[in-house]
């Protein structure tokens, strides 16, 4: 109950945070992949700039919602032009719980709203 209450203090998430966490839900990704994924997931509504993306990543790292990991699924893309391994980011356990809580919250809102707006009883 207490941890649930704590989780609620982080909600609601902004659209950008929600999509960044959602993008990392399936697998770890590097910065550019997150940027493209957020745009695709949001159907082109949320277009992150690099400054916004890394500002968010910095704060999500500080909150322990995401973490840096070694590489991702596509081996040949995981090297920077300088030859250094490209940094990828993954959801932590806390980050996943935050994302789950937000999804649950949104589902509840939709459940409450649907009868009132989609031809249901007021």
């Amino acid at each position: 109950m207490n941890s649930q209450t704590n989780m609620q203090t982080n909600l609601p998430l902004t659209e950008a945070t929600f999509f960044i966490l959602l993008s990392l839900a399936a697998e770890p990704k590097h910065g550019y992949a997150i940027m493209k994924d957020v745009q695709a997931l949001s159907e082109n509504r949320v277009a992150l700039s690099t400054g916004t993306l890394y500002g968010a990543i910095k704060r999500l790292l500080e909150q322990d919602w995401i973490e840096r990991v070694e590489g991702s699924d596509a081996e040949d893309e995981d090297v920077e032009p300088s030859g250094r391994p490209r940094k990828a980011y993954a959801l932590t356990r806390i980050g996943r719980r935050v994302l789950d809580s937000e999804v649950t919250r949104l589902q509840r809102l939709v459940t409450i709203a649907r009868p009132h707006v989609v031809g249901g009883q007021p």
Binding site: L48, R59, E80, S82
Partner: protein, 361 residues
């Protein structure tokens, strides 16, 4: 073009705090290059959209990162307050703020935010009136030094408060109330530069050199134009507030000049607070009334009010100008004020059709 833009982006990166740059700089540069190469395949509009987005967010994020770094240095800890949003973007619930990446709806809902949006002209007007009353029409040659100091302090305190408000608004990623502050701040800077240059020129002095003065004025004008354009990309109402902030600062500043030598019309200058009150009232209507016709009416009303105030101050200028055989600045001033006032809404309405394209890009 691409290498040039990449190099320019590298310069922007250098303005972030060193710790942030060290941690993310290389990655950000890599991601920007990849995004730019990707967008180049979709045409120039896509690349322009990408660059504009980067520039817009840089204006908001770079000062915020510096503030964040400063806070960390002061607290000596990494921890943020537990309520702080990890993305740094205010959520809908707590701040009533538009979300990232969308143009968002107009969100000045609470009384506090509404008051904040109309405060800049009132602050500036109050400073000018207190300053005029302190001078009381005395000549600068005979007036006590402490009175000059106090009068200047009133104006500077008002200007400083507006500057602080604008910086806070920037740090908070420009909540809607902040656009009036931004406009007032930028016009205030420009106005102050012109006053200083004018004062120095009377004793044949310059800020470094005449070229430097012109360059600085051009840079400030370009920053103001960029701020207006970027605000317009977030909706004509927000750009309208920037314009109101700019035009009201200019009109009030002009009103304040009635107190200067050789006019010494403190009675006219002390009317600044009345003018500021009326501007604040109209700005309040602009903020609260959510229909186009009323807002256009407010812009028109502000234009009339500004013109009236310039006509009033002109009664002080006129005699001196006739004496010197110069052309009256009345009409050019009225036209300039009108242009500044309508620039934001007009650019906002023009870019309305461009915004979806830029967002897609």
């Amino acid at each position: 073009m691409t290498p040039l833009l990449t190099r320019f982006y590298g310069l922007l990166l250098r303005t972030y705090p060193p710790a942030f740059r060290a941690e993310f700089g290389t990655e950000m540069q890599g991601v920007f290059s990849a995004a730019l190469a990707d967008s180049a395949g979709h045409g120039r509009t896509a690349s322009a959209g990408l660059c504009l987005r980067e520039l817009r967010d840089w204006l908001r994020l770079m000062p915020a990162e510096h503030l964040s770094a400063l806070r960390k240095r002061r607290s000596g800890a990494i921890a943020y307050g537990k309520d702080e949003n990890p993305t740094g973007y205010e959520s809908y619930g707590r701040y009533g703020k538009m979300d990232l990446g969308s143009n968002g709806a107009w969100r000045i809902e609470g009384r506090k935010e509404t008051i904040l949006a109309v405060l800049p002209p009132l602050i500036f007007g109050l400073g000018l009136t207190l300053s005029a009353l302190t001078y009381g029409g005395e000549s600068f040659r005979t007036i006590a030094q402490w009175k000059i100091g106090l009068a200047m302090a009133f104006v500077l305190a008002g200007a400083l408060a507006i500057a602080v408000g604008a910086v806070i608004a920037l740090v908070k990623r420009m909540p809607d109330w902040g656009f009036t502050w931004l406009g007032a701040f930028l016009m205030g800077l420009l106005f102050m530069l012109l006053l200083i240059v004018d004062e120095l020129s009377e004793s044949s002095k310059h800020l470094v050199s005449p070229t430097f003065e012109t360059g600085l004025a051009i840079v400030l004008l370009l920053i103001a134009a960029a701020a207006l354009f970027l605000s317009a990309l977030r909706g004509w109402q927000r750009a309208g507030l920037v314009s109101i902030g700019m035009a009201s600062t200019l009109a009030l500043g002009m009103c304040g000049t009635a107190n200067a030598a050789p006019f010494y019309r403190y009675d006219l200058a002390s009317l600044s607070i009345v003018l500021a009150g009326l501007i604040a009232l109209l700005t309040y209507v602009f903020v609260k009334q959510d229909d186009l016709a009323t807002r256009i009416g407010v812009i028109f009303g502000l234009g009339v009010l500004n013109s009236f105030s310039i006509c009033l101050v002109n009664t002080a200028w006129q005699e001196h100008i006739i004496e010197q055989g110069k052309a009256s600045p009345l009409l050019p001033m009225i036209v300039l004020l009108a242009i500044v006032l309508v620039a934001g809404p007009v650019v906002g309405l023009i870019t309305r059709s461009v915004r979806p394209l830029l967002r897609r890009a």
